[in-house]
């Protein structure tokens, strides 16, 4: 039997160039605002941040020329209610996905929001496009975005009382779809 080739394994490169970030640079730039840096599924870089330092982190990522994440891809949320390790303090997770057009890199920020106080600072002062996306997250999950210029529902009607993507809302609703006035009763 021949000896195994004596080569040390090369560090694994991410499959996509946009995930190939300088992690040390990110850690040093964000400093205390960063709770944890995770390389998640498909080598995507996830920055776990506290609610209080979310805006600081976004501001740094947006403004710093070495990072320059100028484009907001999406804001969404996750309801952890049906998770096995569910705790009310970790009910929601607000997710910001941002992209650097200059460096062609992408990161995801995850912020935990408790059930009792479902609020999160609005990113609309940093990313103008965040305002409408946050309206959708508010509509679907009931998360209040502090400092938002105009936090109204965007998908469901204004009179709607629930936040449909919460896991404790039944998929067929609570009878809203059956309670319209018949056209002949209106006339």
């Amino acid at each position: 039997m021949a000896d195994a080739p004596n080569t040390s394994p090369e560090p694994k490169k991410p499959r996509l160039a946009e995930n190939d970030l300088n992690l040390e640079l990110l850690k040093s730039k964000l400093g205390a605002a960063l709770l944890k840096l995770e390389v998640a599924h498909a080598e995507q870089v996830v920055l776990h941040v506290a609610r209080e330092s979310l805006l600081d982190a976004l501001r740094t990522l947006h403004d710093d020329p070495a990072l320059s994440f100028k484009m907001l891809t999406d804001i969404t949320a996750v309801d952890n209610l049906k998770r096995e390790d569910f705790e009310p303090t970790r009910r929601f997770k607000v997710v910001h996905i941002i992209y650097s057009l200059e460096h062609k890199k992408r990161v995801r920020l995850e912020t935990l929001v408790p059930e009792q106080d479902p609020t999160c600072p609005s990113a609309s002062a940093i990313y103008k496009g965040a305002a409408w996306i946050e309206r959708e997250v508010f509509d679907m999950f009931g998360i209040q975005f502090g400092g938002h210029p105009d936090l109204r529902r965007v998908l469901t009607p204004d009179y709607y009382e629930y936040h449909p993507l919460r896991k404790d809302y039944p998929i067929t609703g609570k009878g809203e779809r059956d309670n319209f006035v018949r056209s002949e009763e209106l006339a």
Binding site: T172, G173, R177, F180, V181, R182, S183, E184, A187
Partner: protein, 181 residues
């Protein structure tokens, strides 16, 4: 009608007797002006029906009007959501009499696969529907068939059914009282 021979002065070339309703119905059924309430993929099949290949104008219904005040046939084609239903009802009310409604496809007729909170489970709960087309989406031939059915209703060949909301229909009331007893 065969009354010509009873009125000698009319019994010549160029005269026949009939009923006013039949004449008006004949004119109406051959020039239906549809209002396309297209909200989803069924509307694509509706457009295909209007194109030259299937050519709905063969049946006199090619003048698509986007104003309810100028149209007499509403084709509800697609999913109707919680937010859209009041709009649909209002547009239906703005259409002048006489008016007919086709509920095109599974979603408009029953909610289809979308048994979810914003999806109306059949527009016939809130507006009267004359003809339902099954399918997801229905083929253009089905829409042409529905249009011909509407023409038969206008012509009096097929009786127009009474509109009753499902939970207020006599059968539903009987079922409810049977349950109580």
């Amino acid at each position: 009608m065969g009354l010509e021979h009873m009125i000698p002065s009319l019994a010549g070339d160029g005269f026949f007797t009939t009923q006013v309703n039949r004449v008006i119905g004949w004119a109406r059924k051959n020039s239906l002006w549809p209002y396309p309430f297209g909200t989803a993929c069924c509307a694509i099949e509706m457009m295909a029906t209007l194109n030259s290949r299937y050519d709905l104008s063969r049946f006199g219904a090619e003048v698509i009007r986007f104003s309810p005040r100028q149209s007499d046939l509403m084709i509800v084609s697609g999913r109707i959501s919680l937010k859209m239903m009041p709009v649909l009802t209002e547009i239906y009310q703005q259409m002048g009499e006489p008016k007919w409604v086709i509920s095109m496809g599974a979603c408009a007729s029953t909610g289809g696969v979308f048994n979810t909170y914003p999806q109306i489970q059949g527009v016939d709960q809130f507006i009267p529907v004359d003809v339902y087309i099954p399918g997801c989406p229905p083929r253009p031939e089905s829409l042409i068939d529905a249009l011909v059915k509407i023409q038969q209703i206008i012509d009096g060949q097929v009786e127009r059914h009474e509109f009753t909301r499902p939970d207020k229909a006599p059968e539903a009331k009987e079922l409810e009282s049977a349950k109580k007893n």
